[in-house]
Amino acid sequence: MATVAINLIALFYYKYFDFAWQIADSLTDGSLTEHGFAAPNITLPIGISFFTFQALSYVADVYTKHCSAERSFVRFGMYHSLFPQLIAGPIVRYVEIRDEIGHRVLGRTILAEGLTRFTIGLAKKMIIADQAGSIADKIFGLDTAQLTPALAWLGAIAYGVQILFDFSGYSDMAIGLGRLLGFHFPENFNAPYQSRSVTEFWRRWHMTLSRWFKDYVYIPLGGNRRGEVRTYVNLLVVFFLCGLWHGAAYTFVVWGLFHGAFLAGERFAHNRWGFVPSGIAGQAYTLFAVTAAWVLFRSATLDQASAFLSQMSFVPARAAESPDVLTFLPADKACYLALGIVLAIVPAPKSFAARAPTGTIAALQRAAVILLFIYSAAMLSEGTFNPFIYFRF
């Protein structure tokens, strides 16, 4: 318990103290500020949520005897500070890389795999995420009175594309770097926008975080073994914490609860009527729900999110002059955004995914990877680079 508390105290101090202070100040009608107690303005250590959760998984696994305690400080230090995935995941459990810390196998094929995976991740980030992100940034930077339904939807969709390719790109880079060092990190994404339900979405999105919450929060709370109502409550608790994990703000909390409500609703529909969303309609419903939720995630305040969601619901509230939606879609950004949408929602042909390419196809694939690397470096150099979104969590 002491080790859990030590980790959580550090996380609370660096990440949530400011937020707790603001809540306390608002609950006391600003009396803290009036009496000269200013918010401490703490600098957040990069990736603190990730390495704290990784440390907690180690403590819990040792406590529950899923793995034995590591006696070597150096080996444990290597696990806890392994740089490829230290700051933005995947969240790796100790048992997954324990053997590889002491004995790693490297070879030309593994190196080639690692380089390819890293480059694909870099290209996802530079070519798609940042281009879509520049559209989202411009639209979310508008005055809410300027929003129209088309603009609000474009901003939400662009952000949905940005966050998928940003975060899955970073995960690919981390996994690729891990391969180059001889490690096998767990996968973090599995085409989440092709999910047929929000429940399935969470089996495909940030899989190592979902696994963490399932193993260390949901199941210890009783999971689905303590009755129907308790299951719904557990889901809401897990997603409340999941939202809070992503950021210390009301928007993240509401985002988490929004997802929790959808999961509880889907479970209710399944329990009562045996209904499970499926097919194209299921994918459309999931994309609709997830895109609406991203508005909560991206907005600076709940008021801004409310304005976006109102416009997305076609509630007329225009007062100011609104810019034309096409001004946010210059040719290059529109092309990269469209590419991102297609890659995200259209499944790859099964024959393409199942067979490893050989001969000329393999050579062309390798050449494409090298060109992607050079072009991504060019985009990085050009200065349109944004920081990785997940670094701030």
């Binding site: 600098t43 030309r108 094929t109 190196l111 080639a112 380089l115 520049s134 411009k138 810019p323 001004t327 946010f328 210059p330 040719a331 290059d332 092309c335 393999a362 050579a363 390798r366 990877v369 090298i370 690397f373 050079i374 072009y375 470096a377 060019a378 985009m379 990085l380 150099s381 050009e382 200065g383 349109t384």
Partner: protein, 123 residues
């Protein structure tokens, strides 16, 4: 064999900046920038003072000076122009960014008309 060639190309790509720093074996084109480059930060004093912006400033300083920077910027702008007939950086309002027209005029000896200015894409 294919893996060996692939890895060798990557090794060359990663080693090239070091070689370039040491020998300047590829002449790097001049780029007209309509802004002042980031100045050299004072790491020690600011480290002692726990300056939270030190890392950003070191990053900015490095980003203005790494080798092949101008080559890569030229490549990106040229690809954009050839593919899309547009470039975000070509509509500089004079406060920041690069001029594609200037780049092309200097390095490619081609005069091109910049695309119409879109007020929402100021760099």
């Amino acid at each position: 064999m294919a893996d060996r060639i692939f890895i060798s190309v990557f090794a060359l790509l990663l080693a090239a900046p070091l070689l370039q720093m040491a020998t300047r074996f590829i002449p790097e084109p001049y780029i007209e920038e309509l802004r002042r480059p980031n100045s050299v930060p004072e790491p020690l004093a600011r480290l002692v003072a726990m300056d939270a912006h030190l890392a950003d400033d070191i990053n900015g300083w490095f980003n203005d000076r790494f080798v092949f920077r101008s080559v890569l910027i030229r490549l990106k702008n040229e690809v954009d122009y050839q593919l899309f007939r547009t470039s975000e950086k070509s509509i500089s309002d004079g406060t920041a960014g690069y001029s594609i027209k200037t780049l092309s005029a200097i390095f490619w000896k081609i005069k091109r008309t910049p695309p119409a200015i879109n007020p929402f894409w100021k760099p």
